[in-house]
């Protein structure tokens, strides 16, 4: 049966078929993340439009920056009247973790074409990274096309929901009056992101140093105490991890 097929046909169909199924497995694997991404996007849309951003600016944030925590950080610091450079640096610092994602995924996707890698970089968010790396580690025999397909598959439910939820939030936000205490939506969102990360003593120590140092250096001009606190906390976390206990 196989021998009777023209050379190459069977192989080609196999690869397309397995890549297609990898795409759908990726989409299915990332589906649960929609529960987080949807409300998070909605909240950003609401809070950003409450802050006075127009629809185009709100959507540009979610489509071009596509990084929830960094977007909330930038928004909050702009509301605090922090200098623009501090706003940018702090928001980028929040997103530095994606450099780690980029490094960790390179052994798997590094051999793909530049176009594929350029698109994958845009879609490198917490959810696509987590879903894909777990799959690659579970199935080391995956081929490059399968890995690429799985990665894009994992983005398929997450990214459109992020855009759509932001849009819905932005449209909704224009009608929500201030007595609903949405001022506290940003702190609650940040705390909700941080708390599940407090997995080890090193993480808890880093967070504790971050809090104490933020208060201790609050006197520094232009919100720069924040960056000092973050640097100190990062060093403490890394140092505790390095030391054998």
């Amino acid at each position: 049966m196989i021998a009777s097929l023209p050379a190459g046909t069977y192989r080609g169909q196999m690869e397309t078929g397995s890549a297609k199924s990898a795409f759908w497995r990726g989409a299915y694997g990332a589906l649960p993340f929609v529960i987080v991404v949807g409300p998070f996007g909605l909240l950003f849309g609401v809070v950003a439009s409450e802050a006075g951003l127009d629809l185009l600016a709100v959507m540009s944030f979610s489509v071009l920056v596509i990084a929830g925590a960094a977007q909330f950080t930038a928004l909050q610091l702009m509301l605090d009247q922090a200098p623009t450079l501090i706003v940018i640096l702090t928001a980028l610092a929040v997103n530095l973790r994606t450099a780690m994602y980029s490094a960790a995924i390179t052994p798997h996707l590094g051999a793909a074409s530049l176009r594929v890698r350029a698109l994958a970089a845009y879609l490198m968010v917490d959810q696509t990274f987590a879903a894909s790396l777990a799959e690659y580690e579970r199935k080391p025999q995956m081929t490059l096309p399968e890995k690429v397909a799985f990665f894009f598959g994992s983005a398929a439910p997450v990214v459109p929901v992020w855009y759509g939820a932001t849009l819905a939030g932005a449209l909704l936000g224009q009608g929500i009056p201030p007595e609903y205490a949405l001022d506290f939506a940003v702190p609650i969102t940040f705390l909700a992101l941080i708390a599940p990360m407090l997995k080890t003593f090193a993480h808890v120590s880093a967070a504790a140093v971050s809090i104490v140092a933020a208060l201790a250096f609050a006197w520094m001009p232009y919100n720069s105490g924040l960056l000092v606190a973050a640097t100190l906390a990062m060093m403490v976390g890394a140092e505790i991890e390095r030391r054998p206990r």
């Binding site: 970089a121 490198m124 940040f190 909700a192």
Partner: protein, 109 residues
Amino acid sequence: MLDPMTTWIVIAALAVGTYVIRFSFLGLIGDRALPEWVLRHLRYTPVAVMPALVTPLVLFPDATGGAPDLARLLAAGATIAAGILTRSVFVAILAGGGTLYLMLWALGG
């Protein structure tokens, strides 16, 4: 209200900056391994930056003119507790939001 010019500068800079960070290793550095000490520091960026950002917002909320507010403190506590116990961002947000509205209603804030 936010100045539109500043907003667009921030959006443009973050769009480029976040992309460069994500593209960095995948696009440019390729298969070369990152030094372990760099990775070790990167692992702690979220827990290092976000608590520093959120602490003054929790202790001195703008909505009360910077005075500590019981309803907001309890909501923050509930968010952290739920987040640590359930490891779920979603449940933590629900717990925090629920506590805030309950306390604002109960305390007449």
